[in-house]
């Protein structure tokens, strides 16, 4: 018998706010977190940058000294998500985190010293491996029964949530903290710059005039429990994870297929896992990076899955920037808030529909009954994943 997957906690940090309450307030205020960058490597761009240095994060949130930005942000979000939970020997609890670059923000600085012939601190490289960031986040919560890191680029957190749901359903875990984290690094900014997919202005997802994305950083984690665990923790669930899927576009290492094949597969299978008809989806939190390629491909995919009745949709990356591996975690929380509040959060900066597909996203905070939300995340490598969140 497969159990339902209950969500019993959430935590996030992003340019929008330092916790879920602040993020919620910014969402309602239609106030983006994207601003002109303040770091030497981000100052030319609009980014969803968190305005604390690593040292300030450690100080403000009382964190372990000696960790990368990715690990520190992850600790902040995972701690909030697990705040009212306690570890118990009868509840097998794990943690699965998604990250794309792990501890790059600290290792790239040491590596630059090395290249310049200066003395680099070799101990810093210990914090580089992606798996180490997860181990540090798990350790900060006292979790040592199980931890794992998923690295599927921009769909990492989404796949971490899916992995957690599958591990609970197969009986391997009772409770699991799942999500993702990515700190901005020079490596990432230079990488996306080399792909020439930045918009120098505020990103405009699903708009005809969109030119590209704004990067962001942050972390988002949710707590999943099966029935077995829920009977012991007696938590009041916030929502359910009812559907999930992972499919591969297998079209190009970085570009999405023009017809959105992988996205269609992913959305269709997630609906099937949830046992839902496409018409039952009340809101789609789109991947919507605001690159010309993604938004057109995703629009085609939405039309292929939903036909003429594409549900209300938006890309909240216009608020957060593209937080890469963390995006699926942060957007899972926005999806849950949408269900809890009965609110559709808008796609900022939209004015004109894409001519070819003519879809119009939600443009202002809108009240609506929300029972089922579909959330997409598509990564480099064609790693396309979809989650469905449902009202209890």
């Amino acid at each position: 018998m497969s159990t339902k997957i209950y969500i019993t906690g959430y935590g996030a940090i992003a340019a929008l706010g330092n916790n879920v309450a602040e993020i919620k307030a910014s969402l309602f205020a239609e106030k983006t977190g994207i601003r002109q960058g303040e770091k030497p490597y981000s100052e030319k761009y609009k980014v969803g940058e968190i305005r604390f240095s690593n040292a300030e994060l450690i100080e403000r949130f009382d964190l372990k000294n000696d960790a990368s930005r990715t690990a520190l942000l992850g600790m902040v979000a995972a701690k909030e998500a697990f705040e009212n939970h306690v570890l118990h020997p009868d509840i097998r609890t794990g943690l699965i985190s998604g990250t794309s670059v792990g501890g790059m923000d600290v290792s790239e600085k040491e590596y630059l010293k090395f290249l310049n012939g200066e003395v680099d601190n070799k101990e810093v490289y210990r914090n580089h491996p992606s798996g180490t960031t997860t181990q540090q986040i798990a350790a900060s919560l006292g979790i040592d029964a199980y931890f794992n890191t998923i690295s599927t680029a921009c769909s990492s957190a989404t796949n971490a949530i899916m992995m957690g749901a599958r591990l609970i359903q197969s009986g391997q875990l009772d409770r699991v903290i799942v999500g993702g984290t990515d700190g901005l690094s020079q490596f990432t900014i230079a990488g996306f710059n080399s792909l020439m997919i930045f918009d120098e202005e505020w990103c405009r997802p699903f708009d005809e005039s969109r030119k590209g994305l704004n990067l962001g950083e942050g972390a988002g984690f949710i707590v999943l429990e099966g029935e077995n665990s829920l009977s012991k923790t007696a938590k009041t669930p916030l929502a359910l994870v009812s559907g999930w899927s992972n499919a591969c576009d297998a079209y190009h290492q970085t570009a999405s297929s023009p017809d959105g094949s992988g996205a269609v597969l992913s959305m269709t299978e997630a609906l099937s896992v949830a046992g839902l008809q496409a018409s039952q989806i009340d809101y789609v939190n789109a991947h919507g990076t605001a690159t010309p390629n993604n938004d057109l491909s995703e629009s085609h995919a939405l039309i292929r899955v939903f036909g003429e009745q594409v549900p209300p949709f938006s890309s909240t990356k216009s608020y957060t920037g593209h937080t890469l591996a963390a995006s699926g975690g942060i957007e899972a929380i926005i999806s849950i808030l949408s269900i809890q509040e009965g609110i559709l959060f808008p796609n900022l900066n939209f004015s004109t529909s894409i001519a070819e597909t003519n879809l119009t996203p939600i443009q202002t905070v809108t009240k609506a009954p929300v029972k089922h939300v579909l959330s997409n995340a598509f990564g480099f490598g064609g790693n396309n994943s979809t989650l469905i969140f449902s009202k209890i």
Binding site: K122, H128, A153, G381
Partner: protein
Amino acid sequence: MHLVLAEIIQRSFLVKFDMAFIHSITSIAHQDTFAKKNIWDTISILDETSSLVHPDYKEYIAPAALRRLSPILRMAIAASNYCQATCNSPFGAISVGTALGCLTDTEKFLKTIHTTSGSILSPTAFIQSTHNTIAGQISLELKNHAYNMTHTQNSLSFELALQDALLCVNAGKSNVLAGAADEAIDFLNRLNDSLIHAPVAFTSGATFLVVDQKSSPIELLAVDLNFSATNYKDSISKFLNQNGVLFTEMDAVFVANNADFSPQENVVNYINYTGFYHTASAFGMHMAHDWLLMEDKKYALIVNNLVANKLGLILLKKTDK
């Protein structure tokens, strides 16, 4: 005693299913092990001057792709193409483990950022630097639209990928590709004893295999993970006990570190054969698999004790097929 057992049950992370069999397994390593009937015909203990033994990649990868692919990607694509050629239908899922990912391209892009003046950077190294490039390129080469996952948890990355493959088989997927790849770059040698302690030279390696419910000569009985192991002997006994076998029934035990075992035990150190990389236990599994193919063998255990307190266990059994 009861408390100790409860502790082990709580901390170990066992995945056991009714039936899963290994259908194809191949490795590219510092040994001549690619597309072999039995690697014990060719392998020997490595000396410090060993180098990666490459197959003829042109047989598996188109020339244009070959030019831009780093060693780790070449290894993974060639090995998975070989595995696909042995299956009569496309992989039903792809699950890859890598500890440090695509280091060659990561380092190349870091150097480019710091040495290129102006803002025109070639994106190729960046595109190929993410950990999921391995699984992504496998799917792209094979035009495979199935489940595609990348696990990266340091020394346990392979076991996590294998466990995910078992979950996929259990969910009804057939011909599930599981594997691991890691590559060494010179820079790693500077980090020996800071990033990790490597008692032998850093090397590169890739092992890929196919898991399916259909019967084959070697059954994959169970995979277990322990993230806070203190007493390895107890963890191993408990694991074998859960699978109805005793340590003394093992025809061979493949380990990363002999220190946890007495000299009398039938122990083979796979690191001596493949050099040091975090996912070398995948090569250990290949050694165990081919060991069992020889006469009068029944059980083999792979113990990944590469890093203190992190324990991976894999149990294989020869069937009557």
